[in-house]
Symmetry: C2
Subunit: 526 residues, 2 copies
């Protein structure tokens, strides 16, 4: 498949005329061919109108048809073969093995949602029988969830496959029955076109309305804002920076009709090392922590940016072991020159904070955009009095906080902003302390880990990749895992309907074989 620099608007391919850009190879800072044209106002409008036109037919596709559409996309991505991995590696600086793993995650995610669609649990089918003898009589009431409408998706720079054109937001929105318009990330335009064309072809192969999918190219501040403001768009999925996410939240606030904006933004993912765990596994914890910190040049939403312990001999040993492990780490290429510059600036700013001491640095950078890892340390009191230390530095930088006692550990936890994750390392002897810490962490994070590290987000039914602000703009949701579909649905009640006009999920004989709440009792499909 050829990369042409064109956008995908329904079944058309269009070279945008409102400006242009090329992708950049971050290992050399060189531009990569071809040039990509940016969408004009009219082209954004066309994509929105097509999505609106596609909505009714797409939202009422049968579950099996919709599931097969998702599977067709998954197969198409695998069929692209090495060209996809090569282009993604060139555009992002990410290693081939990592990208192959991410491709596997992306297609598994599409297949998970295919099964979620078939299962139909997301329909929340609910039936309350008529009670004609009651005074007043109760009418027959039946509820199912339906799709919200066209969704605008903004991919993330750090997962060019799994959180991008065919990533979790797109997969869950398509699963829900929503047409999708993706604003391609400028950091991986060629990767986006390749995957976008797979979806465009799957739409045609599955005989769906062409407006089910479009992909636009352009600046977030123009194309992105126009998309979010458009009356046809009924929800937004975004993964990226706090400033980028908040700009979309603000733009949506200008709309006449409020819509949900699911922005997954920033998180520093505190790791709490309780005393007995720290004492009994000092060296292992230090090594695993540094591995998690430097994985993928620290460019994970769940990167451990804080590690908290009580000041002790073991804590000092942990820092010493972590320093040794960190000093061995090569500087890895970051995703974009902009991300690299922000990292250099952020770590330089840390060096200016006098009460923060450097523990260790990784190896020096040898190529453009390579990031030298940094571990710093401060006291609990310093952390509590320095709000700037809570700002995410995207990349392999972390701060160790040594607290004077467990009460200060709890105070540090209580002072935190909302997080995607919080982690506790504890042995059985630490459980008394863990019991005091957990209620605090439950209010701060969408996922709490025990004796693990936060990088690595499983795509599963019980996953929560979300959390209180500023981790996300909507703590009621997750952007990873089966429950992500719920973001794009709303309930409708059908009262007193004749049998032949009821939606399939709500017909008496349960033709879709879905679990249903019947008169307040949950019942499984037979």
């Amino acid at each position: 498949m050829q990369i042409t620099g064109q956008m995908l608007i329904g079944k058309k391919v269009v070279f945008g005329l409102a400006g242009n850009a090329k992708a950049i190879d971050p290992s050399t800072n060189q531009e990569i061919e071809p040039v990509f044209g940016f969408a004009t106002t009219d082209e954004v409008e066309q994509a929105c109108l097509l999505a609106e036109q596609a909505f009714d037919s797409y939202r009422t596709t049968g579950l099996e048809q919709r599931a097969r559409f998702l599977e067709t996309i998954a197969t198409g991505i695998m069929d692209l073969g090495p060209v996809l991995i090569e282009r993604a590696a060139q555009e992002t600086g990410l290693p081939v093995a990592r990208l192959e793993g991410e491709r596997g995650r992306t297609v598994n995610q599409l297949r998970l949602f295919a099964n979620v669609v078939r299962d139909g649990h997301w329909l929340d089918a609910t039936i309350d029988s008529a009670l004609p003898e009651r005074a007043p009589p109760r009418p027959d009431l039946r509820l199912q969830k339906i799709a919200l409408g066209p969704v605008a998706v903004f991919g993330a720079s750090n997962f060019p496959l799994a959180f991008s054109v065919a990533g979790g937001d797109t997969a869950s929105a398509l699963a829900a029955g929503c047409p999708v318009i993706v604003k391609a990330h400028n950091a991986h335009l060629g990767t986006s076109e390749l995957v976008g064309r797979v979806i465009q072809r799957a739409v045609a192969d599955c005989a769906l309305h062409e407006g089910v999918f479009s992909m636009l190219v352009g600046a977030g501040s123009k194309v992105g804002q126009q998309l979010v403001a458009h009356a046809a768009i009924k929800a937004v999925g975004f993964t990226g920076s706090r400033s980028g996410g908040l700009a979309l939240v603000t733009a949506s606030g200008q709309r006449k009709e409020p819509i949900p904006v699911y922005a997954e933004m920033s998180s520093i993912n505190p790791v709490f090392l309780l005393n007995q765990a720290l004492t009994s596994q000092t060296t292992t914890l230090a090594k695993n922590f540094v591995d998690s910190l430097t994985l993928g040049a620290g460019q994970f939403c769940t990167n451990p940016g804080l590690v908290i312990a009580i000041e002790s001999e073991a804590a000092r040993q942990f820092l010493s072991d972590a320093a040794r492990a960190l000093e061995d780490k090569h500087a890895a290429t970051m995703l974009t020159p902009g991300i690299h510059q922000a990292y250099v600036k952020g770590t330089a700013h840390l060096a200016d904070i006098s009460q923060l001491q450097l523990v260790a640095k990784g190896q020096q950078a040898e190529s453009a955009c390579a990031a030298q890892a940094v571990l710093s340390v401060c006291s609990g009191a310093t952390f509590l009095s320095t709000p700037a230390l809570q700002e995410e530095i995207f990349g392999p930088s972390s701060i160790a906080i040594l607290c004077k006692d467990f009460e200060e550990v709890v105070a540090v936890a209580s002072s935190l902003e909302g997080q995607l994750t919080a982690t506790v390392h504890a042995t059985t002897d630490d459980h008394a302390h863990a019991r005091k810490l957990l209620p605090v962490l439950e209010k701060k994070a969408g996922r709490i880990l025990f004796n693990g590290f936060p990088t690595g987000v499983e795509v599963a039914h019980a996953m929560v990749h979300g959390g209180p602000f500023p981790a996300t703009s909507d703590s009621r949701s997750t952007s990873v895992g089966a429950a992500a579909i719920e973001r794009f649905l709303r309930p409708v009640c059908y009262q007193g309907f004749p049998a032949e006009l009821l939606p399939a999920a709500l017909q008496d004989n349960n033709p879709l074989q879905v679990a249903r709440m019947m008169d307040g009792k949950l019942t499984l499909a037979s």
Copy 2:
């Protein structure tokens, strides 16, 4: 129980010093004793701090304890006896029988949520087992929903019991594990104090933290805005006017941390009379329509403000029958002088629209604040070209739209803003038309009724009292029925937890006996 004019802040009773007001008897426009003091900034702050302090202990109460708390409130409301009904009747002008019915609905709603809490389905308990042999290994992942945090509730004028201090928002938020601060509606201050004191006493009787419930008095523009802006408040429930709801949405937009605002605002609830139904049941439909229109002086969120048919002999007969029925209707007292003035102004404005003709009026008003019902008529073309006709006139006013053909009926449906309800009257012969109309109505309304009238909202599992903007600010939710609890919850994932630290809902032996999703398969409690 004595009405004192005091607010309830935790276990204290406090007379606010930031201004004051008395309730008004709308049948006479006379003030009713006693005077109520308005909350100072400090008093709002105290209530918020208490709610924040109560949150951890309250959100982790056992399901049975929380259910009993809701039932204790229900019993307490019944135990108030006639004093509650008498005060509510005086403050609202609503008939005693209606208020007794509403009281029954209110306590049934509390009891429904007690059972919802016990059932535990709302926890969304989900378990994905560890797969240690997989490469990479999958950790043990378990998800449950937890309460969002303290909730600010703004009651509605038109349901002084069921959508007020102990109404659906309060009941569902308390059921979810959220402390509640109610801003009492100034139209029924005495009713609010009586019910508030029942909740305050139930908090004490159930040995809960005093901050689980507070009730403040004051202006929405001051106390309301301060509440919505407060960092301790994590969600807002509101039922009322579009301007009032949007003011809260805007106020919440100024917060650093975005929070969900569930505002149920305005709806004109279109009723579509398809040809065969209209022809075969003309007189019955006309009578039932007028009964629904004038019920409770038309002061229902689901009042039928539009009735749409194709121009025909039967349609003209329907209008003639409706006119006769309407002319017999007494003018009923509205809830407040302000609502009455807005109704008089709104209907006077309609009379100025030259393409709108008067069909009939109800009997003239004999007391202060009594509303004369009005039915007007216009063509489909007029409706489509006059957006002002979509503005809700709260009270017994409705517009009939006579369309030139079925395509124009669909065009009218497509032009509508979001609604709480949409209704279709159809016989089997009309089903072909109904099939074309329903996909349009699904996108417009939270509830679609067949051969009924929209007034009357059953409290049940399958009810949706919600819908696209401007019916509500968040179409993903319902404010009536069991699913209302979902508004106040967020998911948390527990990864790799030791058994003894897992929440009860997620322990292997399922001690709460709740339905759970196990490795992607829904399982019932044993």
